[in-house]
Symmetry: C2
Subunit: 202 residues, 2 copies
């Protein structure tokens, strides 16, 4: 059954959402059409209205509606530790662990010359300028353990090498709860290379 053109257009538009394939888009379209039109309009209007007021924190590039985000404004957080992440979802998962009390810097991407994403696009000049003005003691590279993530980490580390900063990266190794038998060779290699002295308190 070919659905009517306007419904088809709506389905197509919904596919722009991440993780929404043809089947889910169809389901969403009919759901929107069959349910309360006021709630649907609220959804569409919220998208348009809120998007206009949300921009990047001028310091860490987190998306927010204020000039400086909540974390950058929080004087209880160490301003001398910067955790560099690829996306804003990463800041959320790190915050949930409650193990980091510094501030963030969000790249909103990875270096990808082939897609025209160079250091400027991911905010590296802004980061360097900030560190020059307000020196920090540690920069933690919390990027993906993928080729692209590692290339980006490498670029940033090189750019900071001449400064008196402790540059760290997250550990690579066995995910908690995993069994050795089912761990891929690449992870196992890194787990061996990064092995640490056994501590009885761990």
């Amino acid at each position: 059954m070919s659905v009517s053109p306007l419904i088809q257009e709506l389905i197509q538009a919904l596919r722009y959402l991440p993780g929404v394939g043809p089947k889910s888009a169809q389901r969403m379209a009919f759901y929107l059409l069959q349910n309360d039109i006021k709630k649907t309009e609220h959804l569409a209007n919220t998208i348009i209205r809120n998007l206009k007021h949300i921009r990047r924190c001028i310091q860490c590039r987190v998306l927010t509606e204020t000039e400086l985000c909540q974390i950058c404004r929080n004087t209880k957080r160490a301003q001398t530790k910067i955790c560099i992440v690829e996306g804003q979802m990463d800041t959320i998962v790190i915050e949930q662990t409650a193990t980091f009390n510094g501030r963030y810097f969000v790249l909103h991407g990875q270096l990808s010359p082939i897609d025209g994403i160079g250091p400027e696009q991911i905010g590296i000049p802004l980061l360097l300028e900030q560190i020059k003005k307000n020196p920090v003691d540690e920069v933690i590279l919390a990027l993906s353990a993928t080729i692209e993530g590692q290339t980006t980490s490498h670029y940033i580390a090189s750019a900071l090498r001449h400064l008196p900063i402790n540059i760290t990266r997250l550990a690579h190794g066995l995910p908690m709860g995993s069994e050795l038998e089912y761990t891929d060779g690449h992870t196992l290699t890194h787990a061996f290379m990064d092995r640490k002295n056994f501590a009885f308190s761990d």
Copy 2:
């Protein structure tokens, strides 16, 4: 990390979409915020604009932008066979099988007195009126094999009982490809009750 209020509001609004939990809504919100604002506005505008022009086919209640839907206008389809379904997604899956050449009647729900959904809400008076004006030979009840679906089927069948119409329902039985060992007892009972003479051509 508590995200900023406007982002929180956007996440909340996205959760209205079916199958979108807190995690996916968060992912969608940041995706919309980090990507092309024009495409996002297109999505929101399409939802608002298209919803205004889509209504129910006056005959079969399929959602469409024309008074009569494509299937009801199609003179090559048997107008004397009506397949009754709960939702529009059902018409799409049935059309994909290419086994039915009649027309549909979409309830957009199931009877549910506790939620205030009675016969009027699912279009039963409209269906009866149509059948009175243009008699049909068969009404196929293609509703869910759930208590609610079966209650609704039963109600419709009763309402049509006094008319010279062949009232049928979809077969219940083993899903194709399933193994007896893993089939639930309820399905197996129905498969036994609905057993058919073995045909060598099947």
